[in-house]
Amino acid sequence: MNVINGHKGTLPAQFSTTGPAASLAWIIGIVAFACIAMANSAIANTSAPTIRLFPTTVVEDLRQTSSVAKEMETGLQEVIGRLDQQQELYEQSKCEGAENDPGCQRLSRQLGATYLEMLGIMEERLPDMEHTVNNTRLSLEKRLRSELGNKMTSWTLQETLLGGNPQPSAAATAPSMRGKSGMRLSERFRQYYQLVASSSSQSDQSLAVLASDIYLDMEETSTLIARTREEIARATLIEQLNQSFGTITPEMMEVVGGVKSILFGDEASRVQIAGPPPGNIEQAYRSPLEN
């Protein structure tokens, strides 16, 4: 059984970074990445695509995932807002270090109850999320196997990725990969959807990378959702016991804060990576030996 622990960095098990809320944060982060990159890739190559990685079914699955993500986001937004208020009240009441005070114990119980509510929402929404994520994953899996796995050699795949243009300027339009963009989850999926919905204007080069990126995301997300669903039951039980014994810690706000930053955006989490040094501006030499 957990006891009150006011020290930072000593989270009780149910609120630790390995708990369901943290797992949700992981899931959300993983399903959402690369949207800024996709915005970059929207600078379309004019050559017509010759591979079909995003047929209507995949686009529809993505739209559905976006919609489910929006619902989950809306549901959590309200409860997280309430947790914020309760946390503020807890701090204003100077309950840290005075956990045995009856008023503080009441506040702790309220915090715990709201946390339980958050777990409940996750439990309710995750099956839908799991379903749509799996649908998208399976559709993409089929297309990747067929278009890139069975119809291409490693050489033609390389040529596809170079977009028929091995000149360095191609780098400017290539999508970068993986990373939080600091925007809303539903907004990220909306961008995913919009990007692939207008895939006729995209180069094969971008689409192959994009499809791979989304597919690997969905693969990882499916696993995490399954693990989170298992964890929620355990965390709910522990929190119910805590409610009985009146033990709660405000450190759970840190975990909730992590969920918030991924769900609703977090400026501080944006990572800037230095670009390459400028290349020479002279006309590139092309050897007759080049392939």
């Binding site: 196997r145 890139l148 119809k151 490693s154 170079l162 400028p278 020479n280 050897s287 080049e290 392939n291």
Partner: protein
């Protein structure tokens, strides 16, 4: 006793003569000392033409080292001309010349050559393919970045390496799921 000593001296003399003769027939296959790429190429051509073609790899490496001392975009052309000369002289096949050039001076990876589909051919040896690409990327760093100052070309090759890694991971996972 004297006769034996005489025979030993004669044997020693013969051995020395034979050794000297063999030295005279073996060309001096030393590395070029020039710090100028054009002169170094001339030196290497002369040496290769005089029977040192077995050391082609080592001479090519020497030329890259010399070029690293004076990096400039024109070096690509010098290497291309040298490789075409090597091909014309029969020191290399046309394909070998292309491989030597593209491995160092082209964005495309020669280690991705293959005639069969990715599910059946590339995926079962994906780790080896990526390792070969990584080595080739090292050679491209030398050829594109350090010899030719083609920064953009090198960074595009580096990006291509990462894209291939991602796309192969996804494709091979999809192939494995379909079995």
């Amino acid at each position: 006793m004297t006769t034996l000593r005489g025979l030993a001296s004669l044997f020693l003399l013969l051995a020395t003569v034979i050794a000297l003769a063999s030295c005279a027939s073996t060309p001096p296959c030393g590395s070029t000392q020039s710090k100028n790429l054009d002169s170094a190429v001339d030196d290497v051509k002369r040496t290769l033409s005089s029977g040192c073609e077995a050391h082609f790899d080592s001479y090519y490496d020497d030329l890259l080292r010399v070029a690293e001392g004076d990096p400039k975009p024109e070096n690509k052309r010098i290497f291309s001309d040298f490789l075409m000369w090597s091909s014309d002289e029969g020191l290399l096949s046309q394909r070998q010349a292309k491989d030597y050039y593209n491995r160092y001076f082209n964005v495309k990876f020669m280690s991705l050559q293959g005639d069969y589909n990715n599910c059946s051919h590339t995926c079962p040896r994906r780790e080896r393919v990526m390792l070969e690409m990584e080595r080739e990327l090292g050679d491209k760093e030398r050829g594109l970045l350090k010899v030719s100052l083609d920064n953009e070309g090198y960074y595009r090759a580096d990006e291509l390496y990462q894209e291939v890694e991602l796309v192969l991971e996804a494709t091979c996972t999809a192939c494995a799921a379909g079995r």
